[in-house]
Point group: C2
Chain length 600, copies 2
């Protein structure tokens, strides 16, 4: 079966949890209301399900191919990309001033999700273009914006992010690519960049590379990195495409997954230097990169949700069809569809709960971004920005880590067929494995959560969220739970536990972070997971409150939401205390540093 | 880097935890002593590391190939297999009467481990042959034994297990293959079998298929299944190879992993019927299969440990080489090897702890098998058999599930390089994914643990093991912990917690299993994991006691064991309570069955 975008569920999250009504009240976002969202999602769902999803398996079987420096995308991709850009999807949340639709990030989020669920390899191309657009919007000169943004936002040109070099992965201080100032204000760029997603391809007229490099007199380390625009084809004065720039794709990688998406090695300057244009000021490249990466990391988090949903849909469909064994409760003397077996239900219920919880958290984070960018009060903007920035490493880290588990469960539900490539479950499993690595590994997200997002503000953002959880806990207590009383009790018990665990860990991080950084950072990935579990669980609790209140309006949909919230409380929130213990109890006992390097 | 069999660690487990000294006192096992084991492991390690491991990547890149019914193994495999059989490895634990070496299962276990760690695809061929040998030893007539066992034990012929059919995976009641009695006492076999590992290949002169099929008048369901030997080539009266039998390999599968191991679709009887020989009695096939599967399931559990160790070794080597970022504790102003970063250590420490704990549990289970088969007292044999049979679904279920996590961590340690196929970390991740599926999925192991291994004996085996854990807890309290006092305290605290969690779950399963099977079976996979964690943790506690006592003899080795035990207590045993909660709290609340099938 093919993927079907869950538009109803997406609308539920946008309306009931991420409060699209309030977002549409923000200056400049009047069009970002529920009616528009419904229309856009319906239209996007058609494109995703009918045009893009059918190419997903083909992209895995016939990956992008490199020959003599040129990369040919999987057959059908270029045409689908044309349909994508003609529909205006690349510009959905970018400014109208440059040809975009200027809609809220909250509306962009489900669009990104359905595109990625349909075909992750395909979706990476627009996602990287979004990153290039964000960088130029943030720090590009008026001239750079005028020359590059309209074509990028239209989708006629695509963008890339060039950070990594063979010796510089997570550690950008080690970047060696050089940028030499020319008399005309341009730079000549030299160096090798690796792992460049869609770094070369035949789906667009031009490719706009955003490249980190050092000027000759730059300080060492991360404070000496500048950001440059290096187009594949230089532009003539009238904006038309001119000469080929000195950047060559020397190879593409042979990867575990996302095979249709070419991962390029790019060589700059072998023929005298690639011409580059400085973005913003010299030596501030990393700063721009970080702001841009906040958006990209959010997008990768949504990719985790997308693959999880696609894997869930496939597994649920298989479990309804596949007949195998009698039920353990004796309710049938004949073999039944495996969805009637408790462990298959446990797997499907867990997949579903994890996916819905992570989706709700991501969309709520997107709404905070909209408030952070559009509210007319600076203090309100700052408050929402702090929450959004606290949530981004959690959305990225948690949604991608959980997608590895969810896609693995998807394989398991299929039994032996899950291991056969033609089934398609294995592709989700392989594709998902990159998500916790690129745009910053989970450990990098965890460093960010501990350092920039918890220690730096003294836990303020974390505590603001804990306060909101308390309000939800109160609401669970005082609500009319009706016949869902047991679910409400279970959720209250588990969320209270999770909230306490998270609060203890925040306190621990604040108390210990500076004194014993090894202990705190040894537990930092667990902190990301704990925060992901508790904050997603909080969203599921909020969803439970709404679903019970509205249950009579749509018993099937809201009843499923109540049961899914219950799965979340019993199968996911129950892990919170274990994470707290593992984080806090490592402290002082030093089990990891007792081993010398030679002993490993 | 290539895999190096951890012979010292293996000997430690065999001598200190699985008590090889006592095993070698058993009737018929005098040769199975520590000196012999050391010599065999040293020899096996050479073959594994020098001959078989170097073919692992090649097998992934140049899988077995099918053409016109014939399968050609990866280049080099046939020669390596010849060296394997010439060394007598196929017969290591099989009876001397038929040409084997008659050594203990305890000695076979590390041999299986190093073979699988070197090359899982390759190792599957001998593993399946072991299954065929066990079946014939158990239930074959003297004539069948005489004709087939010597060649199988020599390795000149290989064996397969033919259970699965398109409609009959976990549910063998649905087997449809037919066996028609002939006048001469043979049968004609008709039907299609799928997922037959090494079902066709060119590495041996003959292939001995063990096939489940129904006779025309057999009862329905699993009570009407018989087991047959169906050789690829029939035997002449003098034992030499005769005519080709009517079994054809019509295709092999395109799989996520274990690509060098051909997974065959076998068609029986298209040319009038394949000649088969009944094993044992009609309609008792499933019973024989189960006993044989106990051995095969143990072997698959060891495969999980093997891949975990191989993945760990590769990740640790990479982490020592790869330089990236300054340490968080400020101990260096320059970038350092990533093994100095706390999260990388957390990953490596967890991988290592999980692997060592699972290995120790598996080898202890193997020693119980030796006691169960060789002790001269029937009551003692029965007691050990009960423990062994309780442990097998745990060794299979837990070691394979944890291998998915460990190989995933192995990818993560490599960062972006982990996603590139040439690195090799991804192959472990792909190969591992079959382990929790074949020879019975984890849910099937969990059904076995709940039904046959806990409910049937009223929890006797489980409680015997809980009693042994209590003895270890007492020993932790009374031991002279010296400068490892904090480790002893931590282990005592976590193992006590885990022991209590496991005891509560056993009680819950016994109390609830019949009354509310859906609730118990919904938590049954968690029960497997909980038991795996607690029983492995118990072995790590036993290892800790030995290591502290002997620490001065070999500070590096025993110091590492102590630190690894500490990692196990803090990063693994801490999960026990969460599993207990998820198992027990689901009861009565029915979060999974609140959803109708349509709501999924």
């Amino acid at each position: 079966m093919n993927y079907t975008p869950p538009v109803k569920e997406m609308m539920f999250v946008m309306e009931e949890l991420a409060d699209i009504a309030s977002v549409s009240q923000l200056p400049g976002l009047a069009d970002s209301n529920a009616d528009t969202a419904q229309a856009i999602l319906d239209e996007g769902a058609k494109l995703a399900a009918e045009v893009i999803a059918p190419l997903n398996a083909r992209g895995d079987q016939q990956p992008s191919a490199w020959r003599d420096g040129e990369v040919t995308a999987t057959p059908g991709f270029a045409d689908a990309f044309r349909q994508y850009t003609e529909g205006g999807w690349q510009g959905i949340s970018h400014p109208a001033e440059f040809g975009g639709q200027g809609l809220a990030k909250l509306i962009a989020a489900p669009c990104i999700e359905m595109l990625n669920a349909s075909n992750l390899s395909f979706a990476l191309c627009p996602l990287l273009t979004d990153g290039a657009i964000e960088a130029l919007l943030l720090a590009g000169s008026d001239d750079l914006k005028a020359r590059f943004l309209p074509k990028l936002i239209e989708g006629a040109w695509t963008g890339t992010m060039n950070l990594t070099e063979p010796q510089a992965g997570s550690d950008l201080a080690l970047v060696r690519s050089r940028a030499e100032r020319q008399g005309d204000g341009t730079y000549k760029i030299f160096g090798t960049k690796i792992f460049i997603t869609w770094g070369e391809h035949d789906m667009a007229e031009n490719i706009v590379h955003l490249v980190l490099a050092r000027t000759p007199d730059a300080p060492e380390g991360v404070k000496g990195i500048s950001l440059f625009v290096v187009p594949k084809f230089l532009l003539n004065d009238d904006g038309s495409l001119g000469a080929r720039n000195d950047v060559q794709c020397v190879s593409i990688e042979h990867k575990l997954g996302i095979k249709a998406s070419p991962t390029a090695v790019l060589q700059y300057g072998d023929k005298g230097g690639a011409i580059g244009y400085l973005v913003g000021e010299e030596n501030r490249g990393l700063e721009y990169m970080f702001i841009m990466m906040n958006a990209a990391r959010f997008g990768v988090g949504v990719q985790g949700i997308a693959l999880s949903d696609a894997a869930y849909q496939k597994a649920a469909a298989y479990a309804k069809e596949r007949v195998q064994s009698r039920p353990v409760d004796g309710s049938s003397a004949a073999s039944v569809a495996i969805i009637r077996h408790p462990d298959v239900r446990r797997m499907l219920g867990t997949m579903r709960a994890l996916t819905e919880g992570a989706r709700a958290l991501a969309y709520v984070a997107a709404a905070h971004a909209d408030f952070a960018h559009h509210h007319d009060d600076a203090g309100t903007r700052a408050r929402h920005l702090a929450i959004n920035e606290f949530l981004v490493p959690i959305v990225k880290g948690w949604s991608t880590e959980m997608s590895i588990d969810v896609t693995s469960l998807g394989v398991q539900v299929h039994g032996g067929m899950g291991f056969i490539e033609e089934t398609g479950a294995a592709q989700f499993y392989r594709d998902a494995r990159i998500l916790s690595i690129y745009e910053g590994t989970t450990a990098i997200q965890a460093n960010d959560l501990v350092g920039r997002k918890t220690l730096r503000d003294g836990g303020a953002a974390a505590r603001a969220l804990l306060g909101e959880i308390d309000a939800t806990l109160d609401a669970l207590k005082s609500a009319d739970a009706g016949d869902a009383a047991r679910v409400f009790e279970a959720m209250h018990r588990r969320l209270s536990d999770g909230r306490a665990a998270l609060a203890n860990v925040v306190t621990y991080v604040l108390d210990t972070g500076k004194r014993d950084p090894n202990a705190v950072f040894a537990g930092s990935v667990f902190y990301v997971k704990l925060a992901g579990i508790v904050l997603s669980g909080w969203q599921m609790a909020r969803a439970l409150l709404v679903a019970q209140r509205k249950r009579a309006d749509d018993p099937a949909f809201y009843g499923a939401k109540i049961a899914t919230a219950h799965c979340f409380s019993e199968y996911v929130l129950t892990q919170a205390r274990a994470l707290e213990t593992a984080i806090v109890s490592a402290h002082g006992d030093d089990p990891l540093f007792a081993l010398s390097e030679a002993q490993f």
